[in-house]
């Protein structure tokens, strides 16, 4: 199956209550698959084509406010339009899943794959101090798995989660093991689980629930911010995911996420054929970022090369995690160009081994 199609299928199967979205290349197959599947006949899941990305994300806000498990998908320019709504979701502490199938920018850019939204996704994107839980799949199987994982983390922390992928994984076809169907929660179950905060209708047994990000009293607003930061710190403590490939004897380390990590896996093999002992660290959660494993590897390897399809964004986080103890260099291609494994090996030799 195609990566984008799998997102749709995984959502139906994990008991999702609704999808609201707007067409944009290279992710339109998500909504097309949903509309073709007609899950409203099967599970009762709502699917709606909104008039814009701005409406989509606010629909997510409304449904999430009532305790529903809902998601949207878009690609880079559309995510920029959603940025205001994502900030509101984080500020009102609402759980939801947002899928960004990145394309090259800035502006209307290109429809070819890119990883240039790393900063936007991991550092905020909208206004205010907030963080998203950001998951970076590097296979179609992970596109499937991270839908359920994303929802679980979103509800655990009452915070938006994002699957940050790109046109490569979205359009790629691979075999995938789909999950079993999980039934949607009934309204009674939603009320039992989330009735303490969700707008499920004010009943005599509770006070009215209000979903808002507004707090004009700056003393209270500071307390809200302190609570958010504590939540993000807990994520950094408990939710970091990463993969280490051939790192045991590595003298050099590649660091890459998503589709770049797939390319780097091949580059590791090619470099080892040349006798270069290199490993790969693949961050799976981009926020929370795997700082500790990178810090540990920084004590063992001679240098790190961060490979990304952007002008060098994650490299800053790797440098911070490695505490500038060893050389941390960047290699990437821009504007929708996908680097080849040979280019990565060449960059490794040139920037770290010979340099």
């Amino acid at each position: 199956m195609k990566g984008n199609e799998v997102i749709a299928e995984a959502a139906i199967r994990c008991g999702c209550d609704g999808y609201f979205g707007y067409p944009i290349t290279p992710q339109s197959e998500v909504m097309e698959t949903l509309m073709d599947r007609e899950p409203w006949n099967e599970t009762g899941m709502v699917v709606l084509q909104a008039e814009s990305e701005i409406a989509s994300i606010n629909m997510i806000y409304g449904a999430a406010a009532s305790g529903k498990k809902v998601f949207t998908s878009s690609s880079s320019p559309g995510i920029s339009l959603m940025a205001e709504g994502i900030s509101y979701l984080a500020g009102a502490e609402l759980p939801c899943l947002i899928v960004n199938v990145q394309r090259g920018g800035p502006g209307l850019g290109t429809i070819q794959p890119s990883q240039a939204d790393y900063f936007q996704s991991t550092k905020g994107g909208g206004h205010g101090d907030y963080r998203l839980i950001v998951l970076a799949p590097s296979s179609v199987q992970e596109m499937n798995d991270f839908v359920d994982l994303g929802f679980k983390l979103a509800f655990k922390y009452r915070n938006p989660a994002m699957i940050l992928t790109d046109g490569v994984i979205g359009q790629m076809m691979e075999k995938v093991v789909l999950a079993d169907y999980v039934p949607r929660l009934t309204d009674e179950e939603v009320d039992q689980k989330y009735g303490s905060w969700a707008t499920t209708g004010r009943r005599p047994n509770r006070q009215r629930n209000i979903i808002t990000s507004l707090e004009l009293d700056s003393g209270r607003m500071e307390q809200n911010n302190i609570r958010f930061q504590a939540k993000y710190a807990k994520m950094e403590e408990e939710e970091v995911l990463y993969e280490e490939i051939q790192c045991e004897d590595a003298e050099y380390l590649l660091v890459a996420f998503g589709s770049s990590a797939r390319i780097c896996q091949k580059a590791v093999d090619q470099a080892r054929e040349k006798g270069i002992k290199v490993g790969l660290l693949r961050p799976i959660t981009l926020f929370p970022f795997p700082k500790k494993p990178i810090a540990a590897l920084a004590k063992r390897v001679k240098g790190m090369l961060v490979v990304e399809m952007n002008a060098g964004q994650m490299v800053e986080d790797v440098q911070l995690a490695a505490e500038f103890a060893i050389p941390v260099k960047y290699f990437g291609r821009l504007g929708g160009i996908v680097p080849s494994p040979a280019e990565v090996v060449e960059a490794l030799e040139q920037k770290l081994i010979r340099g």
């Binding site: 209550d17 609704g18 609201f20 709502v46 709606l48 909104a50 008039e51 814009s52 701005i54 409406a55 989509s56 606010n58 629909m59 997510i60 806000y61 409304g62 449904a63 406010a65 009532s66 529903k68 809902v70 205001e84 709504g85 509101y88 009102a92 309204d187 707008t199 499920t200 209708g201 004010r202 009943r203 005599p204 009215r208 629930n209 209000i210 979903i211 808002t212 990000s213 507004l214």
Partner: protein, 266 residues
């Protein structure tokens, strides 16, 4: 007769609706929001739908509407209330969502969201408070500001060449097949208030009956930013706003089938 004989439940003819909270309203004295809130509270109580009603408050003076009416509320980003109400209604078909929006929120920044929610025929209620000015930010021009009307950003009066024309968005909304009941009301005197309450009741009933979008404009005063006394503001509204924003029903098809369109055969 002693005071305690007068203040006696048997003599009670009028009381605060149970759904209005004890919070002191932040609205300026003379503002139409207070009466409109009261009517909403009365209607929700009369229809006995407190447990299935979800309000969506706007950005503008009514941002804090959630402090005053005792139902569940979602506070929206500026202009986006109809999108939020859409999703609440779609994912909770046994509940009824309403938006409460001002003219800047609904007719300017949120023009796309209101048009499309109404065109889809979402089973929601829209309360549109039109006072022809931006209240909360201090009296700037709204899309509904009348030609010649002075505001903070049209100090010499709204000029069509510079600022465009006042927008009768309710007339546009009435054209959309998804709307079933579109009406323009006001709350400046007891007769108008009674009519407005009837309209809000009918709007909620139509949404409960899944007849499409109900849209109630309440032509309102903003005496503070109009720089008038409340009494003078009511007179100004009747003299200047009513000729352009004519009170009355624009569309009432709650009992009819929606307009028919012939779909293409695939």
């Amino acid at each position: 007769m002693e005071l305690k004989d007068i203040i006696n439940p048997n003599n009670l003819v009028y009381e605060k609706p149970k759904l209005l909270t004890e919070n002191t309203m932040h609205y300026c004295p003379g503002c139409s929001h207070g009466v409109t809130h009261r009517l909403l509270a009365e209607v929700i109580e009369d229809l006995n739908i407190q447990d299935k009603t979800i309000g969506v408050s706007p950005v503008g003076c009514a941002v804090f509407a959630y402090n005053y009416i005792d139902v569940d509320w979602v506070e929206a980003a500026h202009g986006r209330a109809p999108a939020i109400a859409t999703a609440i209604s779609r994912t909770n078909p046994d509940k009824v969502a309403f938006t409460y929006q001002g003219d800047g929120d609904l007719a300017s920044i949120g023009a796309a969201e209101i048009m499309h929610a109404c065109n889809r025929g979402e089973n929601i209620v829209v309360i549109f408070v039109n006072n022809a000015i931006y209240g909360m930010t201090g009296g700037q021009m709204a899309p509904t500001t009348l030609l010649g009307q002075a505001t903070a950003t049209t100090p010499n009066g709204r000029n069509a060449e510079l600022n465009g024309y006042p927008l009768r968005i309710t007339e546009l909304i009435a054209q959309l097949p998804g709307t079933s009941y579109v009406t323009r009301q006001s709350v400046q005197n007891p007769a108008a208030i009674r009519k407005c309450k009837k309209a809000i009741t009918k709007a909620f009933q139509a949404a409960l009956d899944k007849k499409g979008t109900s849209f109630v404009e309440v032509v309102s005063t903003c005496n503070m930013n109009w720089k008038m006394t409340p009494v003078k503001a009511n007179e100004w509204m009747e003299a200047n706003m009513f000729p352009f924003y004519k009170p009355g029903d624009l569309k009432d098809s709650t009992k009819d089938d929606p307009e028919s369109y012939t779909p293409l055969k695939n």
